[in-house]
């Protein structure tokens, strides 16, 4: 991005754009980025983060995190909080894949135990966790059950022997967001979703077997609080969302919102910023449907966890409990939630949109699970399949500055077409094997599109948010096996 005089540096990793930059801005924009990340950020981020600042009822700032890149309406890596009475809700501020998110599971296995069996393990998980075009899940629920499933999320799973007793306590919001109403979800969304529980999807979704990177085992005390106790411990990370259910919810409501805006006299700078008053019937209907989709995603990742536990048990001939395959945590990175925050000298409920951004609640917050409350919420930030991921911890500074929000991943820098021109899938697969990563993909084209060079440097993103004090690094996780749709 060429130098832009409107972007004012406020710290070594934070930048602001004044409301005077664009007519209609209600608040300033704030971007968290190193100089290097800012220089490489596409100019669409500036356009979009300042457009979001124009939305009715937005409070404090329109944010772009260090991994921000152009999206539909909101930038991906965008965060915006709205007054619940006067503000709007926007499907573009959530994303099509409602509660696309990350789940991290630990094991007590050492790298030396897993490495000789990695092919067997990945091949088995690839068979147990369907991925790719039009896949069906192995868990068949009736459409009549969807109301309960999408209301209670992982709690429903625990009540039906589809989750361990303490699994819900290690998922954001206790495994379900309150406020779901299946009557606000279309027949098409329900039909799409019912057959997709336990499926990975495709695109940038993945299931990765990882090992703690001993060179970046950074905060051993906090790592131990999260159940990471040795420097070659094997983990499993799952990145996926609400599948066709969530996509259909967004599709259905985007249609409604466009026509609804005329009735409320709302004009937006970008059609993809379609929004309605959160307090309106239509706004509340979308919220209730979105919550159903968010809870669907929690359940989807839970069913996948069950399949992963089964796979590990079969390969290592011990049950998953004996392998200590407990959840570390599960985070949303596409969602809008009502949360209580203190800002500008007051404490109030706000509707926080995180689109490609992760909650990062600090120590002492009542919504952080009791086992972690002393240190703060686990934050899982996924990198590309070649570079690995990070586990971090939330902070009070995030609460003070960003409505408890941080980055979510690396962010793409290259289109899918351009990535396929640079590398062939089979060649990439061989290269990754040479680097100790066994990857199995539903399609070679899909693999090429997800090459590491198509993404920003995750370490730079994570370092930025750490220097900003918004989320602090705990441990880096290196991939050793990967399943892609």
């Amino acid at each position: 991005m060429p130098a832009n005089p409107a972007i004012e540096q406020v710290s070594d990793v934070a930048w602001e754009i004044s409301p005077s930059y664009k007519q209609g801005m209600n608040v300033p924009a704030r971007i968290y980025a190193s100089k290097k990340l800012l220089d490489s950020m596409d100019s669409g981020v500036i356009e979009q983060v300042t457009n979001v600042a124009c939305l009715p009822g937005i409070v404090r700032y329109s944010y772009a995190m260090a991994d921000a890149h152009w999206g539909y309406g909101f930038p991906i890596g965008g965060v915006a909080a709205f007054d619940v009475e006067k503000g709007v809700i926007s499907p573009g501020g959530v994303g099509f894949d409602v509660n696309c998110g990350m789940r991290l599971i630990r094991t007590n296995l050492h790298y030396s135990e897993v490495r000789p069996k990695i092919k067997e393990l990945v091949d088995l998980i690839f068979n147990l966790v369907p991925a790719g075009v039009g896949v069906k899940g192995t868990q068949n629920f009736a459409q009549s059950q969807m109301g309960d499933i999408t209301s209670l999320g992982v709690k429903w799973c625990a009540e039906h022997d589809l989750a361990w007793e303490d699994d819900p306590n290690h998922v954001e919001e206790g495994g379900f967001i309150k406020g779901a109403d299946i009557s606000k979800v279309s027949r098409q969304a329900i039909s799409r979703g019912t057959s997709q529980f336990g499926t990975l999807g495709s695109g940038n979704h993945y299931l990765e077997i990882q090992v703690v990177d001993p060179a970046r085992y950074l905060d051993k005390d906090r790592a131990e609080e999260f159940g990471i106790v040795h420097d070659d411990q094997v983990m499993v990370m799952i990145h996926c969302g609400s599948r066709g259910f969530g996509h259909q919810v967004c599709t259905d409501y985007l249609r409604n919102f466009e026509s609804g805006m005329r009735r409320f006299g709302i004009e937006v700078r970008d059609r993809d910023l379609a929004c309605l008053p959160f307090s309106s019937k239509e706004g509340q209907d979308y919220y209730s449907a979105m919550v159903c989709a968010a809870n669907f995603a929690f359940v989807n990742r839970q069913i996948i966890v069950n399949q992963v536990r089964d796979a590990f048990s079969r390969v290592f001939h011990r049950d998953a409990e004996a392998l200590d395959m407990h959840l570390i945590y599960d985070v949303c990175h596409n969602v809008a939630k009502v949360e209580t925050h203190s800002y500008d000298g007051t404490s109030a409920k706000v509707l926080v949109h995180r689109k490609g951004a992760t909650r990062s609640f600090g120590p002492g917050h009542p919504d952080v699970p009791a086992p972690y409350r002393k240190i703060g919420q686990p934050v899982i930030i996924g990198g590309s399949m070649e570079t690995g991921s990070y586990l971090l911890v939330g902070t009070q500074k995030a609460m003070d500055e960003t409505f408890g929000s941080t980055a979510h991943g690396s962010g793409r820098t290259m289109s899918r077409t351009a990535a396929k021109k640079e590398v062939r899938g089979a060649e990439l697969q061989r290269k990754m094997l040479d680097h100790g990563i066994y990857v199995k993909a539903a399609t070679m084209d899909g693999l090429a599109e997800e090459a590491g060079m198509a993404y920003k440097d995750i370490s730079e993103v994570v370092e930025t948010m750490d220097r900003a004090g918004i989320s602090k690094k705990v441990v880096a996780l290196r991939p050793i096996g990967n399943i892609k749709g």
Binding site: H69, W70, Y72, I76, F96, D97, G132, V133, G134, K136, Q188, S191, R192, S195, Q196, G201, S202, G203, N204, R243, G244, H247, Q248, C250, T251, L254, R255, E258, R271, D272, A274, R412, T413, M414, S415, R416, T417, A418, A442, T443, D445, G446, E449, G485
Partner: protein, 140 residues
Amino acid sequence: MTYRFLPDVALADIAFEATSDTVDGLFETCGLAITDIMVDPSTLRTTNERELSLQSESLDRLLYDFMTELIVMKDVDSLLFGEFRVRVSKAGTSLDAVARGEQIDRERHRLRNDVKAVTMHLFGVKHEGKTWRTTVVLDI
């Protein structure tokens, strides 16, 4: 009736532009483009037939709903379609269509990207002289 992909429009997703001399052909072309994103069409047979009837408030919305319906049938019925015959009403607010294809066969079909939704980004139907045109960005 042609479509071409637009690699620089959306980094994380897939975009195409479709053109045709007729509005019916525009719909058919969009159907073919979506199929091409999901599967190598040369591996797809046309042994199943589905009839569709849709109504919408405008031509734009009708095309949006038509493409969305193809995505729904992919997920619900595992169907991919290689041939389309679409008849759009004069008012442009309803259509009848026949789509021919088959159920997904992971052994035989060379599958590609999973299309999840039609976005509103850049979307609209234009009639410029004799040419019908649309740009579609699909969430992958």
